[in-house]
């Protein structure tokens, strides 16, 4: 079974850890410091997940979920996740988060810039476009007409398949997109950001988006 390491114990990290545990995945969770500081948080918000130091959590993980604020990314150590599949949940949205030079290049989506910096990791973009407060409630069994779709963007087909499987088991329809560049369709201001859509609706919204050409 795919082993997950969730980095970040804020709004988003523990929710992803919890739904992944529910789906039967072994999950470790880490913040930037001592696991002791997040034991209570883990006990109440993601029971079953194992609080660890980030380096230890990553070491035996198949998939690392990066759920830290984007403004902390510049000081995040790429060596920590070298050789790993990394799920980028982070968003860049200057009106709320402020301008960050590193992410201001109009030619690339934020996950492409993340991939550039984490050059020894395999980046897959997903989870960024669903609110952390919805992630729990909106899960549905496969085949349910109400099941929400989540996009999965990455350049490595095997990594995309692994992550798509996690998404499916958690309770969402995974919609693979054509490469990490197409991850721009999932960004804030894009056609599927923060919207609850079924697979056909999702595919439709993505297909007719003007962003698609750029991506």
């Amino acid at each position: 079974m795919t082993r997950l390491a969730v980095l970040g114990a804020g709004h988003v990290g523990p929710v992803i850890a919890r739904v992944a545990i529910d789906a039967g995945f072994p999950v470790s969770i880490a913040a930037s410091g001592d696991p002791e500081e997040i034991t209570l948080i883990t006990q109440f918000l993601a029971p079953g997940a194992e609080p660890r130091w980030a380096a230890e959590a990553v070491e035996d993980a198949d998939v690392v979920v990066l759920a830290i604020p984007l403004h902390k990314f510049a000081t995040f150590d790429p060596a920590l996740v070298a050789g790993k599949v990394v799920v980028d949940t982070m968003n860049y949205w200057p009106p709320i988060d402020g301008v960050q030079e590193m992410f201001e290049d109009p030619l690339y989506g934020s996950s492409e810039i993340v991939a550039h910096r984490l050059s020894r990791s395999t980046i897959v973009k997903t989870f960024n476009h669903i609110g952390y407060h919805e992630l729990d409630d909106e899960r549905r069994p496969a085949g349910s007409p109400e099941r929400r779709a989540l996009g999965v963007a990455g350049d490595d087909p095997a990594a995309v398949t692994t992550v798509a499987d996690v998404i499916e088991r958690i309770g969402y329809d995974a919609v693979p997109l054509e490469g990490l560049g197409a991850g721009r369709l999932l960004e804030p201001g894009g056609p599927v950001f923060g919207v609850s859509l079924s697979r056909p609706e999702f595919e439709h919204a993505v297909a007719r988006s003007p962003l698609r050409e750029k991506a």
Partner: protein, 355 residues
């Protein structure tokens, strides 16, 4: 102690508090034209005075710095309300501590506490609408550090007596007397939390009460936060502290009238917010969900709203509820009716349901 039994203990220990919060959105005249900032502020004073008269326990004002929400100096408005009332508690909802000086916040609310005869409270937040950061020259990249550092100082100030403190975000204090002194110990201070478990632990660490801001999705998902808070207090060797809930809503004579009055303005305001945040505008379906039993909005007749408050206070192990009333575009008259119904019908009904 198990989480469930600590919840039960808390309900006995702390009195039920039912308050109102406003952000002070610009009010509109009967013809749908926005009124001036000055008139809006005077309207909020009248609303606070009415809240006192109809039996509301708390009146809170949330700090904002925008053209459509001009409440940048909430404490001044609260002082005016305090001068015209004798019973209601007055405070913030929230004070954006990250972009303020904790010494000044303490001074302003300690002054409000004096003016009001001990009725002041403060609810501290990181700020989810971040208009105050550029205004006061703060960098959003320091969001977490600012709040952590300043919360620590504020906790020191609240204890009373000379303060010695050193941190990263403000000059150090050495044996500094900060005035005005409070008459009878610290005034109540809360931390507003929107979904960060680390803020819950921080509140427990410093001994602040916990105000859960539940503005979307299912309120039940916050139950673990309330349990986390009590466990963390225990871990830090502190006695249990109250837990409150802040949620938006609108009360009118009937469910239908409340929804009809609220929906167009909610749509307009959230559409604007969603544009700046990059997510999709609400739909009639999402509104129906949010106003139903599973959602976070308290929109309806006094009976509907009272039942929802009572149910959620119970499931969250909370003893306080602050209804955030108002929405840009609603008129002062409609808000006054909302306040009157909340005080005269919702509050007594919630008390009845919970005893």
């Amino acid at each position: 102690m198990s989480a469930a039994s600590s919840d039960a203990a808390r309900e006995d220990r702390f009195p039920l508090v039912l308050g109102l919060d406003t952000f002070g959105d610009v009010t509109y005249d009967e013809d749908g034209r926005p009124l001036s900032h000055a008139q809006t502020i005077r309207d909020v004073v009248e609303e606070g005075v009415l809240a006192d008269q109809v039996g509301v326990d708390y009146f809170g004002i949330g700090e904002h710095h925008t053209d459509d929400i001009p409440m940048s100096a909430a404490d001044v408005v609260l002082g005016a309300i305090a001068a015209r009332t004798t019973r209601i508690r007055v405070g913030s909802a929230v004070t954006v501590l990250s972009s303020d000086d904790p010494v000044r916040v303490f001074q302003r609310y300690s002054t409000l506490n004096a003016v009001s005869g001990g009725r002041a409270e403060v609810i501290l937040g990181r700020g989810s609408s971040i208009d105050s950061f550029p205004l006061f020259g703060y960098d959003l990249a320091d969001y977490e550090d600012l709040f952590e550092d300043k919360t620590g100082l504020f906790a020191e100030l609240l204890k009373g007596g000379p303060v010695t403190w050193q941190g990263k975000t403000r000059p150090a204090l050495h044996d500094q007397d900060v005035v005005p002194h409070t008459e009878s110990g610290p005034f109540p201070a809360w931390i507003g939390v929107g979904g960060s478990p680390q803020s819950v632990v921080r509140a427990a660490h410093y001994g602040f009460s916990l105000m859960l801001a539940i503005i979307g999705g299912s309120p039940a998902r916050f139950a673990p936060f309330s349990q986390l808070f009590q466990q963390a207090l225990e871990r830090f060797g502190r006695a249990p502290l109250p837990v409150g809930v802040h949620s938006p809503g609108h009360v009118a004579a009937t469910d239908e009238k409340a929804r009809e009055e609220f929906w167009p303005h909610y749509l307009e305001v959230i559409r604007r917010v969603s544009k700046t945040r990059g997510f999709a505008a609400p739909t009639k379906e999402s509104f129906t969900y949010e106003t139903g039993p599973q959602g976070a909005l308290y929109v309806g007749s006094p009976e509907t709203v009272a039942k929802k408050i009572a149910a959620n206070l119970t499931s969250l192990g909370a003893n306080r509820f602050d209804l955030k009333y108002g929405m840009g575009g609603l008129s002062h008259e409609v808000l006054m009716t909302n306040i009157e119904l909340y005080g005269t019908q919702v509050i007594p009904r919630v008390r009845e349901l919970l005893t």
